[in-house]
Every structure is written in C-alpha cells, then in structure tokens.
Amino acid sequence: MDYLKAFIVGGLICAVAQILIDKTKLTPARILVLYVTLGSILGGLGIYKSLIELGGAGATIPLLGFGNTLAQGVIKAVNKDGFIGIFTGGLSAGAGGIGAAIFFGYLFSIIFNPKTKK
C-alpha cells in the first residue's frame, strides 16, 4: 500500500515539474532550485511533514524532500544549539546526501568515461 502511495505522490511531483519544463522556459536547473527552495519553505512552515505521512518516499526522494530535510535540520539545530544552529543545521542534515554525491561523483568520474550520444 505504501508503495502505491509513494508511486502516486512521487509521480505527481515529477509530473508537475514536467509541465513546468514543457510549458515555461524554465530550464531543469532552475526547476531544481525552485523545488529545493520550496521544499525548504514548506518544511520550515511545518507543512511538508503531512505530505511525507501521506506519500512516504514519494515525498522524500524528490528534491522537494531534500529541501525539507535541510529545513528540519535547521529547526532541530536551533532548538538544540541556539544561534549557531542556524548555520550548522541545514548543511549537517543534508550532509549524507551531499557527501555521498561528492564522493561517488569523484569515484565514478575516475572509473567511467562519458559516451557519445547516439
């Protein structure tokens, strides 16, 4: 059941982005920036967690979810550490994903070569 919900919620979030790509002149990079910022705002307002309760991974896997993770991290850190938490919270919450991306990015660029498009 949770697989169906994840499928629908995740699929819809992607579908909306597809409409933005096809109907506006927004490039994929700008849409990603929009999504991560939006996720961060919705997370800060406490709204995003309802979407996670509904869609599970369907809400956390898209980049909106990453923005929410950053926002949750900040809130937790401010609660725990006060002022410093403003600056440490977001990046530390996202550290897993960002660290993995940097490391695997470097590793795979050494191992693999880009292939010509057909």
Partner: protein
C-alpha cells in the same frame, strides 16, 4: 574604386575562382545517414583514437585538409593561404591543425556560416590577385559543442523539438585562379541580424532573419531571378528554421520553395532522432564538399546559391540573457564562368 562591388553586399568576380578539389570526413552518425555514400571518410568512433574530443576534431580538420590536397595532387607548399574556423572557443580545432601545416593562415569565426565565409574570402583573395591557390576548411563535433554550449553528455535531459544536432565532421575546399570549374562567380556577405530570439535551443528561429536578409539582398544586388538558379541551399536552417525562412521570404515577394534545400535537413533522416535537423560548422561543409559539389559536377545542378548560416552566441551571452544574433554568407556557384 570598388569596381567589382554590386549593390550593398555583393561582389562579382572578374576572374571567377575555380573549385579544384574537396574532401569530407564525418562521424558515425552522419555516416549512417542518407548522404553516407558522398563522404570520403566515415569514422567508426568519434574519438578518432584521440584522448579528447577536441583533439579528435582538430585531427578531423587536418585530415580533411590533407585529403583535399591529395585529391588535387597538391603539396601544402603550393597553397598561398589557408582560411579556417570552427565552433570552439578561440577556434582551437582550426588553429591547432594549422600548427601542423606550415601555411599562412587566417582564422575565421562565423559559427556555422564559416564554410561560406571561407569560400567568400578565399575567392576574394584569388580574384584580387593575392593568391593562386587557397584552401578553406571548417569542422565541428557533437561532443565538443555540447560540452561548450550546452550540457555534459551523460546529463539526463530532454532535447526540445526545436533543437538541432551538431554534426561531427570536417570539410575542406581548394580554390584556384585557373581551372575548369565549377566556379564561384558571386558572393554576398551577410549583415549580423538579431530580432530578439533568446532560446539557444532554437537556432533556426535565431538565424532565419539573417538568412532572409542575405537572400533578399543577393537578388537585389545581382538582379538575378529565382528561376535562374537550379538550387538554393542553406547550411543549417533545419526544419523549424526552414518554415520560418520561407515565410519571411514569401512576405517580401520571394517564393523559393520549389528550389530550396537545407543541409541540416538532408544530412540526417527522421529515424536518427535529431529533431529539427543537423547544425554545426561541419553541416554545411560536409554536405557542400561531399554531396553538392558531386551534383554540380554531374550536371544535376548548373547554377546554385549556397548559403551557410551562423548563430553568433556564446555560452556567456546566453547566460547574461542576451538574444542570439545571426549571420548568413552566400556564394553563387556555377559550371560556367
């Protein structure tokens, strides 16, 4: 005392230079396309054995030049000037190939219009009495263009339907002051025209105004009629640009549809998923030097107006929100002087 000038943008050569030989080298995709039998060398691998695509492109440029020389039975020492360009920053494909060739060299940047820019300037050097033998060449490569102007190759993006596929290839032409044709009889030099198109994925729309302007002024300056030409061929308007160009010309009273072909449309077929069509400096170069010259030599066409078109953007200008200026240079090629 510009006695050879016609009107604002055209020159008529008093001793039309002759096309002595031509050579083409293309990548695998082009070698699978409808014009594959007309190319001299088809690569099986677009890295051409080199460590980077830039090195591969420069090697293609050089090999096209070498092959054109061989076909004309020339030594490079007989060449007075080489004119060459490509799409890359600082035209490294042309300049680094010239490094090997030991020939007086003019580097050109006309984006995808470089082929006819080279033919025009080469013809002027010959007809002006400054040279007897000229070689002009240009190249482009899908992967070098993508990484400079657009996205890394492994990026998961969708190409819009207006986008064009940069041709991997190089083409070279040798012009002489003697020889039995085909001849370059006239050349119309384009003005840079920009009507505010900003979409770097729609080159056709960016270049069409310049293309229309050059064609219209060519006919005004020369007094030729459309009927006198057997073929009017553009470099890389592709499908989207073609429709726009024909409409712009029609509005000004020029109906060229029955005489019109475009290299970007001819070089790939629909099954190769190139959307609007081919583009790149090599598009016009390989189709001209491979297919079109063969048709002219075989008598299929006697008099042709050949016009390569270029989009003069840079990666920086696009990011700064600038629109894309276009330019188009045309040459008249005829079997008779």
């Amino acid at each position: 005392m510009a006695v050879k000038k016609l009107g604002k943008q055209t020159v008529k050569f008093s001793n039309p230079p002759s096309i002595e030989s031509s050579a083409t080298i293309v990548g695998p995709k082009e070698g699978n396309g409808p014009l594959k039998d007309f190319f001299d060398i088809i690569l099986t691998d677009d890295t051409y054995g080199e460590k980077s695509w830039e090195k591969a492109e420069s090697k293609m440029f050089q090999d096209a030049v070498d092959l054109a020389l061989k076909k004309a039975n020339f030594n490079i020492n007989q060449i007075d000037y080489m004119l060459g360009g490509d799409l890359l920053n600082q035209i490294i494909s042309a300049n680094f190939a010239a490094r090997q060739l030991n020939v007086p060299h003019f580097g050109l940047y006309g984006a995808c219009s470089t082929m006819t820019e080279g033919l025009t300037l080469g013809a002027m050097l010959i007809d002006g009495g400054f040279a007897d033998n000229i070689i002009t060449a240009t190249s482009s490569h899908f992967s070098t263009a993508e990484r400079q102007y657009r996205y890394p190759l492994e990026q998961g993006i969708q190409r819009p339907f207006t986008s064009q596929w940069t041709v991997t290839g190089a083409g070279a032409t040798i012009l002489t002051s003697y020889g039995n044709g085909p001849y370059i009889t006239h050349a119309t030099t384009g003005k840079v025209i920009d009507l505010g198109m900003k979409d770097a994925n729609n080159m056709g729309a960016a270049m069409a105004p310049a293309a229309a302007d050059t064609i219209i002024n060519h006919f005004k300056d020369t007094g030729f009629t459309i009927e006198e030409y057997d073929l009017i061929m553009t470099g890389d308007m592709a499908r989207v640009g073609k429709d726009i160009l024909l409409e712009l010309l029609y509005k000004e009273g020029f109906d060229i549809e029955s005489k019109y072909k475009d290299c970007g449309i001819e070089i790939f077929d629909e099954s190769q998923d190139v959307h609007s069509g081919g583009s790149g400096a090599a598009c016009s170069a390989v189709v001209f030097n491979g297919w079109l010259l063969t048709q002219i030599l075989n008598g299929v066409y006697n008099k042709v107006l050949f016009m390569a078109t270029g989009a003069l953007l840079s990666p920086t200008s696009s990011q700064q929100g600038e629109s894309i200026p276009g330019i188009a240079h045309a040459v008249t090629i005829s079997r008779q002087k």
